[in-house]
């Protein structure tokens, strides 16, 4: 089946729930457009949750933004976006750390899961004040590696880490997945259990024979 057919088929499964339709009808028939005692209960659940968490999140993030504004942090300004203090560090083949910047390719070097001495391509994400960082890959898997006991813990396509943890992304071994040349890693940052920022790292397999990889942080 062609890509466009699959897209149409996938999109056909997206349907407005009855609850959403009923809510629209209720709102349309409401005789008051002003907030009342039941106002919060009559709006869409997603917006309701947002409003309820808005004050808490805004206060926390305002503090982070203001703190950041006081510090002349050029790197943070280049990163832009939701979490000014978010920094992503990748590592070249020789182990040298590379600070990842938007729209600038960074070399990851040659890697093969079956030939390397490390379990994957290492990444370190730091986001001050974040209580959780979640990474989701479009392919391959994440691996956590304890270098003291050398135990490798496979995590699948999604992994949760704390700020400053090193995580390894391992390219896929299966024949089907190896056909892909572009992988994406979504980096979601959580503050007080709410997602407050997202970054996307694109990893490209440059040469299938030598298994050379480069990365790029997608701009917003």
């Amino acid at each position: 089946m062609k890509i466009n057919r699959k897209y149409v088929s996938g999109m056909n499964r997206i349907q407005a729930e009855k609850e959403l339709k009923d809510r629209v009808i209720t709102l349309a028939r409401s005789d008051s457009g002003t907030p009342s005692e039941g106002y919060l209960e009559n709006i869409h659940p997603v917006r309701r949750r947002r409003l309820r968490t808005a004050a808490m999140i805004s206060a926390a993030l305002l503090f982070v933004v203001m703190t950041f504004a006081l510090v002349d942090n050029q790197n943070g300004q280049e990163q832009g976006g939701l979490i000014p203090s978010l920094a992503i560090t990748a590592y070249a083949a020789d182990g040298m750390p590379i600070e990842v910047k938007p729209n600038v390719d960074f070399p990851l070097g040659q890697y093969s899961p079956t030939m390397s001495s490390v379990p994957g391509l290492p990444l370190t994400i730091t986001a001050e004040d974040a209580d959780q960082i979640e990474l989701t890959a479009s392919g391959g898997k994440f691996v956590l590696w304890n270098t003291t006991d050398y135990k490798v813990r496979e995590q699948g396509r999604t992994v949760s880490v704390s700020s400053g943890d090193k995580v390894y992304w391992s390219p896929p071994l299966s024949r089907h997945e190896k056909q892909h040349v572009l992988y994406t890693i979504n980096v979601d940052v959580y503050l007080n259990k709410e997602k407050v920022g997202t970054r996307i790292i694109e990893i490209t397999k440059k040469d299938d024979n030598k298994l050379m990889y480069t990365g790029r942080l997608a701009a917003d």
Partner: protein, 167 residues
């Protein structure tokens, strides 16, 4: 809501409109916003605007085109808002809890830059011509064609396969 309060017998008509258009609006909003939570928000706002709209439509196509235009404007308002860009938490509402090839393709399309996924949706899902998309998005047709070509190129890299109009 006052504008909608007295529509009385028109309530059934509005429900029909909601039933007829809600899915289309939600899908378009999803393709624009990239996440289901925002799309649901936009869908609700657009349908309320439909209820308030008193000028009538000359045809079903006119009504649909109006909805598409309003949906895109609503999505743009959402993405432009300072709150949304800097503070609003993104609710993680899963699309569909099924790991199928179709949903995989949809997820990849939603990972494209906004301008690309929008033209993909209008062209392949809604079936509009590039000239019609240009009118809807207030763009040059050449720009739409370029965006469509680049979007397809990116998808071909991310997903194995081709497009029917390339055969």
């Amino acid at each position: 809501m006052d504008e909608c309060r007295d529509f009385g017998n028109a309530a059934d008509l509005f429900r029909e409109q909601v039933d007829r258009h809600a899915d289309m609006v939600l899908r378009l909003a999803l393709s624009h916003t990239g996440n289901l939570a925002d799309a649901q928000d936009v869908c609700q706002e657009v349908l309320i605007k439909l209820c308030r709209y008193r000028q009538g439509f000359s045809s079903m196509e006119h009504e649909k085109a109006w909805l598409i235009r309003v949906t895109i404007n609503q999505c743009q308002d959402l993405s432009r808002s300072v709150w949304s860009r800097w503070f609003a938490p993104v609710e993680n509402v899963p699309l569909i809890d099924q790991d199928t090839e179709e949903m995989d393709v949809l997820s990849h399309v939603l990972m494209l830059p906004r301008k690309y996924r929008l033209v993909i949706h209008l062209y392949y899902y809604e079936g509009y011509k590039t000239s019609e998309i240009a009118d809807l998005l207030d763009l040059n047709e050449a720009t739409v064609r370029t965006q469509l070509k680049r979007a397809k190129g990116k998808l071909r890299i991310m997903i194995q396969g081709g497009f029917e109009d390339e055969d």
